[in-house]
Amino acid sequence: MKKIPVTLKVNGESYDLMIAPYRTLLDVLREEIQLTGTKKGCDVGDCGACTVLLNGQPVNSCLVLAATAQDAEIMTIEGLAQKGKLHPLQEAFVKEGAVQCGFCTPGILISLKALLDKNPAPTMEEVKTAMAGNLCRCTGYSKMFKAVESVTSGLGR
């Protein structure tokens, strides 16, 4: 199949690529741009490990064709820390020990960042809804909830 030119804007940087039209954003991020922080779990939209922000909204990058994401602002886990400084959520995850095997962590952090951008002081129910599409098979959710709380508790709830 003929490759097509595609320009992707990821974490503020522009990438000019030649890719097959049927490749997913997930595969292109990992294999063409070498941003391997975004994980490939189920590859069918069930596990959330591949979550990235598309124009600020969390989506499963395994269910997006890279060529259709041309005009979008894409943000991956690599874009979360700014100028070498971890995002408060990342700091909290480290501090609370909310990372076990780590495979689900990038997707979960992206989902939570999207939530906090929209709603800086969410209830625990809202946190759980935001994370419902992200599976952690270490089942380490409690510490993640604690970590989120430690970030949001100071925010006048």
Partner: protein, 295 residues
Amino acid sequence: MKFELLQPRSLQEALEMKKNYGDKARVLAGGTDLLVLLKDQKLTAEAVMSLAGVRDLNFIRYEDGRGATLGALATHGGVAASPIIQQKFPDLAEACSQVGAVQIQNLGTVGGNLCNASPAADVAPPFLLMDAVLTLASTRGERRVSIHDFFQGPRRTVLQADEILKEIFVPEVPGRRGATYLKLGRRKAMEIAIVGIGVAIHLNGSDQVVSECRIAMGSVAPTPVRARRGEEILRNQEVRDELIEEVAVVAAEEASPISDVRASREYRLDMIRVLCRRAARVALARARGNKEEGL
């Protein structure tokens, strides 16, 4: 998963392409179903036509007294978060907020959910409750089709090879409408409905007399269906617990569920009765304007 990718930039261009490709081109809206089927090789496609560039199909418009029009590419997330939809059509907002999880809701579209024609499609029951009218477009022109005539079987609709679903119109009904969509799964998120029930109750004047009752059911027949005989029982009647019970029993009789990996036929029949009862009570409370909704 290999295919040619078509990327029209306007509806007109999309319709031209669909005319030329016909069945050879699969329409890609949110991709949450189509790409999974293509990856699993349950479907093959010579070409896939992404509607990502057809931006004017992602809208929600409301006209007071007339109703709402949703572009086929309105996302589940967008519909669920729309204040006017939450207020006027809470059953639709609830259905959209129960599709998959946030990531899926941000990609998946109401039009895609209908065209995919799964018997378990979450947005189908609310649209059935509302007597939605779909606008199907092709280079030959547009035609309007009732939601009741749209589904033909599992994954089959009346869409012709050159047609694309353009928008969905839901008329506003006179009087007070209360409605809800209840979905049963093994858990709250990332589930395909075992049973999905929508009930709408319309009140005109009295809080006690139901002027209209509508029941729509998903995952219980080859297509999403209305329970017309069950609806009759409450229509123009004064509400009593025994009547709601009878509605639920008759609605279950109208269903023809199968046993599959998600649940047995018998369990589904039982759950239709339970959800019907609950949904009727919630819909009634909403029609009466009660904040407290007795589940």
